[in-house]
Each structure stands twice: as structure tokens, then as C-alpha cells.
Amino acid sequence: MDILTIRGLEKRFGDKKVLCGLDLTVPEGSIFGFVGRNGAGKTTTMKAVLGLMRPDGGEIFVAGERVSYGQTPTNRYIGYLPDVPEFYSFMTPREYLRLCGETMNMPRAEIEERSGELLELVGLGGERHRIRGFSRGMKQRLGIAQALLGQPKLLICDEPTSALDPIGRKEILDILLSVKDRTTVLFSTHILSDVERICTDAALLEGGRIAMQGSIEELKGIKRAESFKIEVLGGAETIAKAFPDAKAEPDGSIRFEGGEDKIFEVLDFIGKNRIPFSKIEREGASLESLFVEVAGK
């Protein structure tokens, strides 16, 4: 079953069309990476899902129910962590979670039990200070705790790792990975290594549409032109003569299209002619190269 379905979503800001017919489905139980460059419309899409922004066209379904703008009952299925979460700074994390639980009409005992458990999970169990003095990473972690309090079916995180240092990023990713049995996670990012690290599925947002979507295995398995480049220290003309399809790159290296067979063919030639070189680089099957390829089109 799909927890989130978006069909033909459109949004315009003045003359600028940010989303033009975005289609997206998030399968239940996945950790879904929502990838796109800065300003691609990731936050806009998420705000539309949360009913915080009125779309100009299209429809959104959360757990099979249609999302409405303004008053948004579907939000009871969703836990949300904004890119820069802001809390009532005069409260302690405990007090804040109590407020969250009470606004959701959770029973008192359950609030106490779950807040304790969640604060422990995000590493704020012993925190007695007010939120005022919290670091960005701490706020981000408290944000995950508040988002999970209502046992949501869908956890939406807007760039949860972007503003953090490497340790903070790892902590957040570990937490997201650890909750995957309880909820579906949808998180936006422009950091592809984060996606490769924890996601089961991903989609690339480019030009207001989803350019590519699927499970990580599917995406990595997509056949595409492989290539490699060699930095030679002379003898470039000899190579150019023997391989007319090779291209000279601006940085002085030579690029070849092709996979394993081609590499060995070129290496044979270099060996026979004793052409000195400093580096061979394969452009591997990473998500990064795939997305760069698609986004660059």
C-alpha cells in the first residue's frame, strides 16, 4: 500500500513555476529519500502535503484520504520535522512534548511514557534545561521526538541533516534508520550519500517534476552510459589517433565511453606504447553520477 500519493501537483510563485505536474508515490514501510537541488521545490511539496500551502493544481492523498488546505485532518497520520524546527524556547523538552501530547488528546499516562522513551531514543533523556539554549543538532533531535510522539504512519523530515556537522548528521541518520519499523520515513535532502546510507527508495525532483523514482536497487541498476577518464603525462595525440571516439576534457584528461572491456583495451594500448599517466578514474554506479546525469539533461 502507498502511504502517500501525489498526482499532478502544481505550484506557482508569481511568474515562477516551481512544481509542474509532480507525481509521487511513497510505499508504506520505506525510508524514502526525496532528492533535489536547493530551490527545486522539495519544501513546497512537503508543505502542500501538510496542508500548509495551497497548491495551484493536482491532488494529494495521505493513507488514502485527500489532503485539504488550512484545516487538514490528514495531519493526524503525519509527524513533521521542518528544516529549522522552532519550539517554545521557554519550555523544557519534557514540557514541550507534554504540550504536543495534550494538543493531540493523548492520555496523560501515555504522554509521560512515550515522551520518556522518545527523549531517550534521541539522546535528550537527561536534559532538564529549557530549549532556549539548545544547539541545532539538539533541536533537530527534539524535532524527531515530537514528530514521532503521535505514532504517525508517515514521518516527514525536511532536510534534517543539511545544517549539521558530520557527527550530528550521523546521529540523525541513525535515529531515522532505527524508527523504520514503526513508521514510513520521507525525508528531503540534497546530500546523496545520506540517501545511499539509509534509504530503501528515492525520487529525484528536477524541473518541477519527478525525473526518476524507484527503490535504491532499481535506481542503481538503471543501465546508462558508463565512462572513465585517464590523465596522461604526454602522448595524448597517439591515443587520440588510436581512439577517435575519445574526448579531451578541459582539465587535460581524456574521457572514454564504455565499461570494463573498453578499459582493458585502452590500458593494453597504453602499456604497449608505454604512455606515462598519473590517474585513471572510473565514473562509477553511484546515485550521485546517476542524478547528476539526469539533472544535467
Binding site: 501538510l50 496542508g51 522552532e86 494538543t103
Partner: protein, 256 residues
Amino acid sequence: MRSFFAFFKKEILEFARSGKLTILGILFFAFGVMNPAIAKLTPWMMEMLSEELAQSGMTVTEVAVDALTSWTQFFKNIPMALIAFVLMTGGTFTKEYESGTLVLMLTRGLARYKVVLAKAAVLLTVWSAGYFICFGVTYAYNAYFWDNSIAIDLIPAVLNWWLFGVMTVALTVFFSVIANGYGGILCLTGGAVLAFYLASLIPKLTEYMPTTLMNGMNILVGAVDASDFNACAAITAVITVALIALSVPIFNKKQL
């Protein structure tokens, strides 16, 4: 209902921990003390000035001071307290718009109308508490020094002014869901009160304008009857309810 009270409690906690509750408490108390104090000091001040006044041809006879002098001060000073109150509380919505704290509350299913009503209820509670502290202090001193019974229909006059304050609070709530900035809210609230005041200068409209409720002194000295303010009070109450009722649908559609 529980989520409403949760948000109400949060608002009160915010007022308390930011120190605003203490400041407002001191302020209203101080205004309450000031009214009889000024009345009590008036004869002494006149005496100090009498020599100067005598030189310019005025003779100061004995100045009689009673509870009415103090109540005159009350009605003169309470507008300042209301202005201070609006200045201190006018940012209660905009602070949340700017920081984005409301988004997390609303995305977890807190109904928007509860936000509006809880904030309005807290402002109203704090205003009422402050106002009646000020009134109570003045009343107690007046009773001690003089005699409050010479003021005619004191309670209706005081309630009228309180009702005017309530409407001003409703105005700030209404403009808070329309405007996005603190400055805008203050300007619009001030502008609306000014508009009511200017309209009340037209004799035919005087008895219907909320600002007329501020003329409590006229009741106390018996210049007008308390019942003359009934229409005005009713209109003010209707405006107050309408402002709050309109705030809800507007806030429901507000982009946050």
C-alpha cells in the same frame, strides 16, 4: 476541549516565564496606587504653587479632595495602562508567525480556531485581572482615605471601561490574524480606536460609539445616567464578539 486548555496553559506559561506577567502585575498595581496618591498630593502641590499663582493674580483657596478626585485620576490614567498592555501583548501572534512555532502545533492536528480562541482568552484574562487589580487598589485606598459612596453608579462606570478594554483586546486579535507584523497590528488597532473616537465627535453617533464608554466620570458625578450607556455597551459587546468570530475563518485560511 483538552487541547484548548493545553494551549491556554502554554500561553499563560509563556507570559509568566517571559516576565510579562510580573511586569503587567506591577504596572497595574502601580497605576492603582497612583490614583489616590495624586489625589492626596493635590492640595500639597497647590500650596507649593500658590505663591506663583498669586503673583499672576490667582488666589488659591482651600482645595477639597475626595474619592471623586481619585476616581477622576483612575479614568485619566487607565488609558495609559491599556496602551501599555496592548504594546506588551500585541506580538503574541506575530512572534509565532515569525519563529514558525505554530506550524508544529497545527501540523499535529491542533484546530486553528483553538489557537485563536486560546490566545484571545488568555489576553482577556490577563487584561481583566490587571484592570481589576488596578480598580481594587484604587477602591481600597479611596475607602480608607475618603468615602466611595459619593461616586454614583461606580460599578457600571468601571464595567463600561473594562468592556472598552475587552473590545480593544478583540481588535488586536482580529488585526493579528490579518497583519503579519507587530507594527501593523499596533497601527491598525490604534487606527480603529481613533476612527471610533472621531466618529463619536459627531453628536448623532456619540451615544453609539465604543469610545464613549471611556467617559465614566460623567456617570460618577451624576452628569449622565448609567443607563444612557446601555446602547453603547451593547454595540461594543456585539463588535467584540463579531471581531473574534471573524478572526476564526480568516485565520483558517492564513498562509503560515
